[in-house]
């Protein structure tokens, strides 16, 4: 039979409609396939595949860190941040990690180079094998605001 490569996305806004049922069975029926669970808040595909040889990769986002000694208090970063993740009080910069969307703009703008980027782990990507199915599972740490960085990472990891 001719080999066909295709990407099939299974999604729905409604819970309990059978997304996992359909996608798990599609992947299993295709035999040689890759199953990517992007439901990073509660991934459950791995419960059916029971993948083996599991390897994990941490997923992190970049957030700003300040060296207060270098900060001149110009507030360019505070004014720039569209999400209001920064405040300047009593000669000190306050950074709200959970509000930051990791755009990096504040770090680029800082004329004193007082801001640098640090990595903050938000979850992980698990890779395992179940027969002919490669099983990738995105897992977001509880309490994190956004799982999108993990979902965005998933296809790149697959290519590797």
């Amino acid at each position: 039979m001719e080999e066909i490569n295709m990407n099939i996305a299974v999604l729905s806004g409604k819970g309990g409609t059978g997304k996992t049922l359909v996608s798990v069975n599609l992947a299993a029926a295709a035999k040689n396939s890759v199953y990517v669970d992007c439901d990073v808040e509660e991934p459950n595909g791995h419960l059916f595949f029971k993948p083996e040889n599991i390897r994990e990769e941490k997923i992190s986002v970049k957030i700003p860190a300040v060296e207060n000694k270098l900060c001149s208090g110009c507030r360019q970063c505070v004014d720039f941040c569209k999400f209001n993740a920064l405040a300047y009080v009593k000669d000190k910069l306050i950074i709200f990690d959970d509000i930051c969307h990791s755009c990096g703009g504040c770090v680029m703008l800082c004329p004193e180079k007082a801001l640098t980027e640090k990595h903050k782990a938000i979850g992980k990507l698990q890779k395992g094998i179940s027969g002919g199915v490669k099983v990738y599972t995105g897992i977001l740490n509880a309490g994190e605001a956004s799982g999108i960085p993990i979902i965005k990472n998933a296809p790149y990891v697959i290519i590797l």
């Binding site: 941040c81 999400f83 209001n84 405040a87 009080v89 709200f96 509000i99």
Partner: protein, 122 residues
């Protein structure tokens, strides 16, 4: 001492606004000089982080005290860093709250809510 209150309207007959971060105005009242100003709260139209931006404005206007019905966690952290004390309003009218505050009838706001974070997309 400068007192900040979230206000629905730009006049002394105003009610206290139910929201801190998205209040249209802040009444800034100086209880020594009896002078007052209304600060336009630009944070009200922000897609996210309104509490932080509003708190920054309250700090920058050198308020010592905030009277508010509610306050979120992030805004409270900014205010705390500036040593601004937060008190819970006990009536609807801004003026009545100022009078009650002058008479020391106020409890500290000790129930900081978790904020309404997650605005502005991901």
């Amino acid at each position: 001492m400068k007192i900040a209150i979230p206000a629905d309207e730009k006049n002394m007959g105003t009610n206290v606004c139910a929201s801190f971060g998205r209040t249209p105005w802040f009444l800034i009242y100086d209880d020594e000089t009896k002078e007052y100003t209304f600060l336009d709260n630009s944070a009200a139209s922000e897609s996210g982080g309104a509490g932080i931006k509003a708190a920054q404005a309250v700090v920058d206007n050198k308020a010592d005290v905030l009277l508010t019905p509610r306050c979120g966690e992030n805004a409270a952290n900014v205010l705390k860093a500036a040593n601004i004390k937060i008190f819970k309003t006990n009536s609807i009218s801004a003026k009545e709250n100022l009078e009650a505050f002058a008479a020391c009838e106020f409890p500290l706001l000790d129930e900081i809510h978790g904020g309404f974070h997650g605005h502005g997309g991901n």
